[in-house]
């Protein structure tokens, strides 16, 4: 009798435990299946595809060869593409940091009605398609008929239209404009965590406004700038619409190159190799950068 009493409360416990253990899996299953279905499987197929062969007349052959990878990694044409992609991404990152960080700081110091209005002005473009925003630049600077070029020429300030379309400069400027909100948001978030008394403390100790900015504010928002930089870099390196419009077929970056291989040359395996290489390179850069940032600031802000 006493044994029965002892065992009865014990026996339901394991089933409850196993049910509890399974619950998280069951609850995440729908999202997990969606994730596997739309991301993991296509990605795996793309990786597979990059090892297949392709010929002008025979199409895609499901064999395992390293031809595409050898081509992508050794041909100077691809090297130039990837070099340009990461160079543009780097310039865009620096540009957004140079403009976005002060922008966020000024925004943060604004008084109540203006702050909301200007935050909307800065974030508003996110609501408009990237294509529309980039076409705006094309309208302003595109060749002889571009609005700014026309105005500057008729004012006699320039004799030939400013080169913008099909230039790296044009791509950097347009991408920096498109990606600026991400940097502003990241720095803004870091500024929100700042104790305003800290600036007062520095002032009371005899620091001028510039010293306060350089020695007190900047180091504290540095993690924000760096996380913004990682986002902007990743988005700039993988951007498609802006390089496609500004650079067109003449000035390709990795994303537009992969697109061309898929849809114009129809060499899917080569396009897949380009896409996978871009993905791997980006993941390595982003993970490496955030590791560095974390290690640098773990002691200070952890």
């Amino acid at each position: 009798m006493s044994a029965a009493i002892d065992t009865t409360p014990a026996s339901p416990a394991p089933t409850a435990d196993t049910r509890d253990a399974r619950a998280p899996w069951a609850l995440t299953a729908p999202a997990l299946m969606l994730f596997v279905g739309v991301l993991v499987i296509p990605l795996a197929m793309t990786v597979m595809l990059s090892f297949h062969d392709w010929g002008q007349y025979k199409g895609i052959e499901p064999v395992f060869i390293l031809k595409n990878w050898r081509e992508v990694l050794t041909d100077s044409y691809f090297l130039e593409m990837f070099g340009r992609t990461f160079r543009i991404a780097l310039y865009v990152t620096v540009l957004t940091a140079l403009f976005g960080a002060p922008e966020a700081y000024i925004l943060n110091r604004m008084k109540s009605p203006w702050r909301g209005i200007f935050l909307l002005v800065i974030l508003g473009p996110l609501l408009i398609s990237v294509v529309a925003r980039t076409l705006g630049w094309a309208l302003l600077f595109g060749g002889n008929s571009g609005l700014v070029n026309k105005a500057l020429t008729s004012l006699g300030l320039i004799s030939a239209p400013l080169p913008f379309m099909f230039t790296e400069t044009g791509m950097v400027v347009a991408l920096a404009h498109v990606l600026m909100p991400y940097m502003v948001l990241a720095v803004w978030a870091a500024l929100q965590r700042l104790d305003p008394q800290i600036e007062n403390a520095a002032v009371a100790l005899g620091a001028g406004p510039f010293t306060v900015l350089r020695r007190i504010v900047l180091p504290q928002v540095m993690p924000g700038i760096l996380s913004g930089a990682i986002i902007v870099f990743a988005l700039a390196a993988s951007a498609f619409a802006t390089p496609a419009i500004i650079g067109g077929r003449r000035l390709k970056v990795a994303a537009t190159l992969a697109y061309d291989e898929f849809l114009n040359t129809l060499n899917w395996p080569l396009g897949a190799a380009v896409a996978v290489l871009l993905l791997v390179a980006l993941v390595l850069i982003v993970v490496g950068a955030s590791r560095l940032v974390e290690r640098r600031y773990a002691q200070v802000f952890g």
């Binding site: 104790d195 008394q197 800290i198 007062n200 403390a201 520095a202 002032v203 009371a204 100790l205 005899g206 620091a207 001028g208 010293t211 020695r215 007190i216 180091p219 504290q220 540095m222 002691q299 200070v300 802000f301 952890g302």
Partner: protein, 347 residues
């Protein structure tokens, strides 16, 4: 001549008068507290001295020279903020050294003074710690060292101990007082804690709704509160309505069944104010009944219902038997222990 002088200082935020006609003369080496509930204007006054806010009226003078035209960075005051406001990206030593760097103190002397300041607040050996890795009390000490290392003419403390737990706060109070005495730095403390103000200060400025209610030593403000607000805010107090009975000679001051010879020149109804620890249980006096009695270790706290309304009495736990709940008692006090306010009170 006083060292730090506030001359009819006022601050207006739109239609709101936050500080009204604040005048105070602080002597060199003096420790003065601004005491009051939140929103009484004490922090605003401190910020005007620091220079983070400009006064709407009046002048602030340090050693006779007008401070209001001096940039906050040039005032040379040491400030400890409620949130400590340490630079999170700098070590304790770098935090303390910052003010010296701004003053272009040579590197060797700087290191020497930083070590001295951290030693003074009991943080020797913590030089390389980041604030995030320190406890609240330690951060507090770094903030104090950072404010004192520049040898400020005036030390401003904005609720510096309010984020610490009770035991640590008491320790820091004693230490703060010792450091201040040793250095002889003129100090202004903003606090809402009356015990803190009383145990630390030479003088207390009691403030309410932007006005100065009373300026005096801790004892003066406690024993002779200038207004009902001061007596209520500084510790517990009993207020009884009393009348003057002129039918007998000399005239008597009467509150319920308690009475005493009235001070000369007093007429009309007054309020009698007595501290709970000055009331004793006697054979004659104000009739009352004990409602609750609370044991608090070194003393007993009695809540009574008297003829003149609720009353609180504090008696030392001296081992003698004390009245129990429900017991009828008589409340008595010496006339010199009470203060009188109200209509006809000869102030």
């Amino acid at each position: 001549m006083s060292f730090l002088e506030l001359d009819h200082v006022g601050k207006q935020f739109g239609p709101n008068t936050v500080v009204d006609d604040f005048s105070l003369a602080v002597g060199k080496g003096e420790f003065v507290s601004f005491l009051g509930p939140s929103g009484c204007g004490k922090t605003t006054t401190l910020q005007m001295i620091a220079g983070f806010l400009d006064p709407s009226r009046g002048a602030i003078r340090l050693e006779g020279r007008d401070l209001t035209t001096v940039q906050p960075a040039k005032r040379g005051l040491g400030i400890v903020f409620q949130s400590y406001a340490l630079f999170p990206h700098m070590t304790a030593a770098e935090n303390v050294a910052f003010g010296l760097e701004m003053r272009r103190v040579p590197r060797a002397e700087r290191a020497e003074r930083v070590r001295g300041a951290l030693g003074m607040v009991g943080l020797a050996g913590y030089e390389e710690r980041y604030p995030r890795r320190m406890s609240g009390g330690q951060q507090q000490r770094v903030a104090l060292a950072r404010a004192l290392v520049i040898k400020p003419s005036v030390l401003l403390l904005d609720e510096p101990l309010s984020n610490l737990d009770a035991k640590l706060r008491e320790e820091m109070q004693i230490e703060l007082r010792q450091i201040q005495r040793n250095l002889g730095t003129t100090t202004i403390l903003v606090t809402h804690d009356q015990n803190e103000a009383m145990s630390l200060s030479d003088r207390i400025v009691v403030m309410s709704q932007g006005r100065v209610e009373q300026i005096g030593t801790p004892q003066e403000t406690y024993e002779r509160p200038a207004s009902a607000f001061v007596s209520q805010f500084l510790g517990k107090t009993n207020d009884f309505a009393a009348t003057i009975d002129k039918t007998c000679a000399p005239a008597r001051l009467v509150a319920g069944s308690w009475s005493a010879v009235a001070p000369v020149g007093l007429a009309g109804p007054v309020t009698v104010s007595i501290r709970p620890e000055r009331i004793s249980f006697g054979d004659a006096g104000l009739a009352a009944k004990i409602v609750t009695r609370i044991f608090q270790g070194n003393h007993w706290l009695f809540q009574c219902e008297s003829e003149c309304g609720p009353a609180i009495v504090i008696r030392q736990n001296d081992g003698k038997p004390q009245p129990v709940e429900g017991e009828a008692v008589r409340l008595a006090w010496r006339p010199e222990d009470m203060s009188l306010r109200g209509v006809g009170a000869a102030a």
